[in-house]
Amino acid sequence: MKQSKLNAPHPHPRPGAGLLVGSLRSIIVGRSRARFALICLLSLLTSTLALAGVKIEHWVAPSGAKVYFVETRVLPILDVQLDFAAGGVFVPAGKSGLAGLTQGLLEAGAADLDEEHIAGRLVDIGARLGGGADSDRASVSLRTLSAKPERGAALDLLRAVLSAPTFPQSVLEREKGRNIASIREAETRPDAIAAKRFAAAIYPGHPYGVSPTVDSVAAISREDLVEFHRRHFGARGAIVSIIGDVSRAEAEAIAQRLTEALPAGGAELVPPPVTKPQRGTVKIAHPAAQSHVHIGLPAIRRSDTDYFPLLVGNYTLGGGGFVSRLMKEVREKRGYAYSVYSYVAPRKLEGPFEIGLQTKREQVADAIKVVDEVLTGYMAQGPTAKELAAAKKNLVDGFALRMDSNAKLLGYLSAIGFYGLPLTYLDDFPAKVKAVTVEQIKAAFARHVKAENLVTVIVAAD
């Protein structure tokens, strides 16, 4: 859930946000598809400082944790997030699913509290715990009212689940069972199959390409969780992001209290390098009415200097929603697909570049041909001067609305911390976007989106 994706398709108001979900589901249909996994950190890539007076403060807590803090007193709320290098990439072979289970079971019992006490206590104070684990990191977030009684109780709970999780055996068995049922269910769904097979195909032999299986989840023991927590939830590697209605002094105390009792942590692990895949096509049978298509490869690291040229360039290709070339050619002109997009999702190591669409299975070859033409043309020519100007205008002028809430700012703080981006990242963003040239875009695409490494995955292929 925490994956940062460049220029994802237009987020649609999420039915899941509860705004419109009524007594019967499917109560709304919209013009473009909600890809809510992408929405979380969409803002990360396409915006910058908008709230007047937002100032990111940074320090290292006595515990060793790195802290990123924004004080904002308008709303009586506090958001806190802790990020750890505890994603799937660090999981031992054959235990895929361990990162998600460890993160997920933090709330299953802590210190002398069982899961019902934790859940009940959170509800009683109106607080919400969230988070998840992706390839690189595991996150735990808290939203609470900032008044002292609620805030204090919520932070005590957060401290307990981070520092003293008990990982009860009975809960582990139950959750393994639910995970396995979900995996079996996902194996019947064309979208899930496509995503899993795409990851496996572009990351052959690398943990980025491994997804949990029935066997890998079944093999996970309580000792695995305890050990994974001990090694990867240490204070020294922790990133603490805080935004809301507290002072700097209070934030300092909060960060220290949340991290002082964390486990010692193991040595920093370096995941194996990513090797690029060979060009090829993977076809998977499925009875769906639509074929699901993913085309892509491992592209860039978050630290790569080609980040901005790819960000800006991808906007015109397939990231800018209805104004992108892919949308125009595949959807608007030919009616081949409802959803067609491209994104770049940088990670610690080379994260994916991907083009995706779904189309009536009889016409999938035609749709892929159009995508190939668009991509080839774009690789050769880059954006026109007009397209580049439009992309920059959207990215620069659109800062404000991608930073207009504490929740969105929290996402930036954690990304800046976790990926080691400069504290001035948000301030620098407009200038970095404006400086991108057509030549830089062409060069960046030529370096990172090589035809010889492009993998195509088609589920429900004939």
Partner: protein
């Protein structure tokens, strides 16, 4: 899959509640907190005006960030369609981006993007809504663009021909290849036989295949008029300036009479209804819908509020009964949900749904869901459970203020149902006044088999399922 969640829907408003003196100490802190820290303008917010052509404009000032949400809501949704052209409300929504007498196709999105904004639209059973989220300086241009397509949309066979294919792809994606959506579609058309809620919003595929551009044009001409619309603006704006802009851009548009809306009330159901759907899947899925009262009189109704609280007790949060008893405790459910929405134009239902846990059957899950209702019928709910619902509602309304879009959606949503944004505070107060007896009362009153419809997913092995026959091949 989680069931429908209700804690943040339109019945749970974000505006400031009055102090509730009956609360427990911790709760009192809550109420005080909400009361004390609300920025002063909240008390005057929002503002409303009505133009001479009947268009209403509702503005909520929120200066937190230099941005604004602009929405136009039309009170025309799939419930206003006729058999044979199901889905036309949503098709028209797509076509609204295809150009006007003043703007080329695709230009709308382009202008919004170049202003640094995002835009989209959505169609429900009750309404169709369009929105832009923009830096505040772009608000006048957005109002100009929306007012233009309220009156000047250009529709033709060519644009329609491409876009109807997109909509059919959307149907394949959302419904045809999505087993749970298929179950809901079947449930809907089982619960309702006369009422237009029986039709899917996206439309039956056969209706989409036979739709013409003239169907879309007729829809537009009938329903897209300022007297059937309202504008919601939330953000760093001055309401007087927004009213002035609204007069400038929307003011000159002409109103016309709307088609008659027949009630189409659903006849009373007298006996349980069951339907099953086969689709490639592993886990079975169950959805149970009971007919229920909807909110008609904000001041004097009681049942809708009690039903809302009942849904929250069952599935409002992580410590609610379904999570605690069915997923974690008895381990009978992989997932279980409860949902009730009483703020709507049509008729209300109370829905329970879920997937059985590994080794359990649909029958086990159905018995467990019924058991939870029975327990409330017999034993009622506790004071602690009621208190939790109240706390959750207060916290949710405060958290909602972190999002301009959520605030705009709340105003638009309650207006769409025929209530007013002015009722938002009252709704929260009414919810907080619900008693344990009232919750037990609605559990006894509404959950009878005579008004129950049940839909189940009968999972089929993927390997043995044949690809569906091509659809959408025949065009007229």
């Amino acid at each position: 899959m989680r069931g429908p969640k209700i804690l943040t829907d339109a019945l749970w408003p974000q505006t400031v509640p009055a102090l509730d003196l009956d609360m427990k100490p911790l709760l009192a802190t809550f109420a005080l907190l909400a009361f004390a820290v609300s920025p002063a303008p909240t008390f005057a917010n929002p503002f409303e005006t009505k133009l001479a052509n009947g268009l209403r404009v509702i503005v909520k000032e929120d200066p937190r960030a230099p941005t604004a949400v602009h929405m136009v809501w039309y009170r025309a949704g799939s419930m206003d369609e006729k058999d044979g052209t199901s889905g036309v409300a949503h098709v028209l929504e797509h076509l609204m981006f295809k150009g006007t007498r003043n703007l080329r196709s695709g230009e709308f999105n382009k202008r919004v993007a170049e202003a640094g904004g995002r835009d989209n639209a959505f169609t429900s059973r009750d309404y169709t809504a369009y929105f832009q989220i923009v830096p505040k300086a772009a608000l006048p241009e957005m109002m100009k663009l929306e007012s233009d397509r309220m009156a000047n949309l250009k529709l033709d066979a060519k644009e329609f021909a491409a876009e109807i294919k997109v909509v059919m792809e959307e149907r394949r994606l959302r419904t045809d290849d999505n087993p749970h959506s298929l179950v809901y579609e079947a449930l809907n058309s089982t619960v309702f036989r006369a009422h237009p809620y029986r039709r899917p919003i996206i439309g039956w595929m056969d209706d989409l295949e036979h739709m013409t551009w003239q169907d879309a044009r007729d829809w537009y001409k009938q329903w897209y008029t300022p007297n059937n619309a309202y504008v919601v603006v939330v953000g760093d704006v001055d309401h007087r300036e927004v009213f002035r802009l609204a007069q400038k851009y929307y003011g000159p548009l002409k109103a016309h009479a709307l088609p008659e809306r027949k009630p189409q009330n659903e006849p009373e159901q007298v006996g349980i209804r069951r339907v099953s759907v086969k689709a490639p899947a592993k886990l079975p899925y169950l959805a149970m819908a009971w007919k229920a009262s909807k909110l008609r009189d904000v001041q004097n109704d009681r049942d809708p509020y009690a039903l809302e609280v009942l849904a929250a007790v069952l599935d409002g949060h992580d410590a609610s009964r379904f999570s605690k008893n069915l997923v974690r405790g008895a381990k009978v459910a992989q997932s279980a949900g409860a949902g009730y929405d009483g703020t709507l134009r049509g008729e209300a239902t109370f829905v329970l749904d879920g997937q059985p846990a590994e080794g359990k059957t649909i029958a086990d899950l159905e018995a467990a869901l019924r058991g939870e209702i029975k327990r409330i019928q017999d034993e009622g709910v506790s004071a602690e459970e009621l208190a939790r619902v109240k706390i959750q509602s207060i916290a949710a309304q405060i958290y909602k203020r972190d999002s301009l879009m959520a605030q705009a959606m709340e105003i638009g949503g309650i207006e769409a149902a025929g209530q007013s944004w002015r009722d938002i505070d009252t709704l929260l107060e009414k919810l907080k006044s619900v008693t344990a007896d009232e919750v037990q009362g609605v559990a006894k009153k509404y959950f009878t088999d005579d008004s129950l419809s049940i839909a189940v997913l009968d999972p089929q092995p993927v390997e043995q399922s044949k690809p569906k026959k091509p659809s959408g091949a025949v065009r007229h």
